[in-house]
Subunit: 354 residues, 2 copies
């Protein structure tokens, strides 16, 4: 593998000094970019795009050609795992992801196969290898997975949901079966992320998009416990370097203490908590990633620059901060505003690293 | 007015001793009840139901005939205010509320009229008077309004939203116009709630459904500041008794300290925070309302009873707790499970009030 030219991102994740604050964006390879939309059209549908290592590599690299991002993230979808478990993922226009089969009974959980990563998800690890080659050491590559709880919500609902009625009823009515399901998912996620690391991912992020809909007690028992298991099972060193792990629970601001105790290296923050407050709570234990409101990208370069300054000041001096949005960038954002964002992070952060 | 026979709810809101913990449910007059659906069908559409004092009174009383609720809440909708401001509220089947006109420019804000409550919202105060008569002192009546920020989001978007793109862009790009809009709304909400109090509401709740989508700084500036203004402008005594004010910001768990400083008597909690933790943070200043996950009502009576016990134990001994769900009850819930819920609160709470 080519030597890494820009390791700011990996250094910040482990609290080592950096020259400027590294930055990337969740969903940076996405629909706000016209070149993404063109590649997506070429692929036909979304899953074909995910399943083609060449096209997944192409869209992974697209934002790096435009912006001074300090990391690339594998282009894929969190729902590749349930798809590999035989649930039949498809995307209907304007309606988000759907599954042909859902998990509703003890028998459904019992019969659910644990995928063979090489056979069923080889297209993902192939994409990782290809992206690493193409990156040629320019920036590190992030691998990722959904959290077991988040994957389970989609598998039970069969789609996204407003109130997660079926997933929560399953949890409250059949807690043992829910644990069985989450355990299968945790095993699979561990193997999946380790396969991504073996293929060249230099850091990994677990997306717990729906942990924040739970009570504190249920979050600990049904979401965080399984993320901890995964963290314990991950390959933590590769190519002679630590492979940092980022845990991101959207709407998890009340549980930062618990998340920081999980064994992860970095806690991802949505935009609802002040990053300075988060640092004073858990900054002695972990790095922090975040946390600009993605909606500010609908605003003007001036407003974006002001918000970047505010967040950098809130975090304060020293390493341990990876700048990011508090959630994925949305499709309607003007790509020019992303330049303003990324450049502002680099421009205004130097003073905090002297 | 008839003397109040059951004042547990009002006593708990002001921290006075009670025999058992009072309970009511957000959206307790709603679609989960077959008799509500029948009345709604009779009314034709949702707004006709809101605008008929007789029918609004009827559905307000329906849950009290089934369950041992300790309070009634006026049946209405938070969007009556923007409707009275000329935006043309309507409900399209399965799509939620919509407005014919939206607020997108400085001129839109400038031209927005401040409603005359008696003329434009007299149907609401008429309903309050009628409900008070019909309640005949059995339990207190709660009046309510949406928060200025929450109303503004609907007025700018023209409907509900996933990412509140337009509302947030308006806030970030035109903060002065946003403040002007919020100021008009705060004036209107104050007059509206005072009119409800004058008509007989014995407590009021401000619903800040969408404050939780903001950054901490924006929440303080664009949502909480206007709720504080309203609290300062409210009639706080009526019929020789204090009129308590409840503030409920969904996903506001990170900001409880700030909310408790607003001058309100009670802070509404969604289900994501442990109520015992909330009590230790702000229980010396305010009462707490909440906070069972509404999804538990999809479960079994046994699971519901266990969760009620857990929440009562988490709050601990003494007054200052109004039991409620952490958000409105959803339409698909089995009405029998609501009995299990309400009765469990009364049955298991006596031991905490000896």
């Amino acid at each position: 593998m080519a030597a890494l030219k820009n390791d700011r991102f990996l250094r910040a994740l482990t609290g080592q000094p950096v020259d400027i604050t590294p930055v990337w964006m969740m969903r940076q390879a996405g629909r706000y970019l016209p070149e993404y939309r063109a590649t997506r059209q070429l692929a036909g549908d979304f899953m074909s795009l995910c399943q083609s290592p060449e096209l997944a590599c192409e869209v992974t690299l697209q934002p790096l050609r435009r912006y001074a991002m300090d990391a690339a993230i594998l282009f894929s979808d969190i729902l590749t795992i349930p798809d590999a478990m035989g649930l039949g993922l498809y995307f209907s226009e304007g309606e988000g992801p759907r599954f042909r089969k859902t998990i509703r009974t003890a028998a459904d959980v019992e019969q659910l196969p644990i995928p063979d990563i090489a056979r069923d998800l080889g297209y993902v690890t192939d994409a990782v290898s290809l992206i690493r080659r193409e990156l040629n050491g320019s920036v590190p590559l992030i691998g990722f997975s959904g959290s077991p709880w988040t994957l389970a919500t989609y598998m039970i609902e069969g789609s996204g949901s407003k109130d997660f009625r079926h997933a929560k009823a399953f949890m409250y009515n059949q807690p043992e079966q829910m644990h069985q399901l989450l355990d299968k998912l945790a095993q699979t996620v561990t193997a999946y992320l380790n396969a991504q690391i073996a293929a060249g991912a230099q850091a990994v992020q677990i997306f717990d998009t729906w942990g924040g809909i739970l009570t504190t007690q249920a979050y600990r028992e049904f979401s965080l416990a399984y993320m901890k298991k995964i963290v314990q099972g991950l390959t933590r060193e590769s190519e002679g370097r630590k492979v940092p792990v980022i845990l991101f629970t959207k709407n998890g601001g009340l549980w930062l203490d618990d998340i920081a105790e999980s064994g992860c290296d970095c806690v991802g923050l949505d935009w609802t908590i002040e990053i300075g407050r988060a640092r004073s709570l858990i900054g002695n234990k972990v790095s922090l990633q975040g946390n600009m409101d993605p909606s500010i990208l609908y605003s003007t370069p001036d407003a974006i620059r002001a918000e970047v300054k505010r967040i950098l000041a809130s975090y304060g001096p020293g390493s341990g901060h990876v700048f990011n949005l508090g959630h994925g960038i949305t499709p309607e954002v003007d790509p020019a505003n992303v330049s303003a964002f990324v450049d502002a992070v680099h421009e205004f952060s130097a003073q905090y690293h002297q």
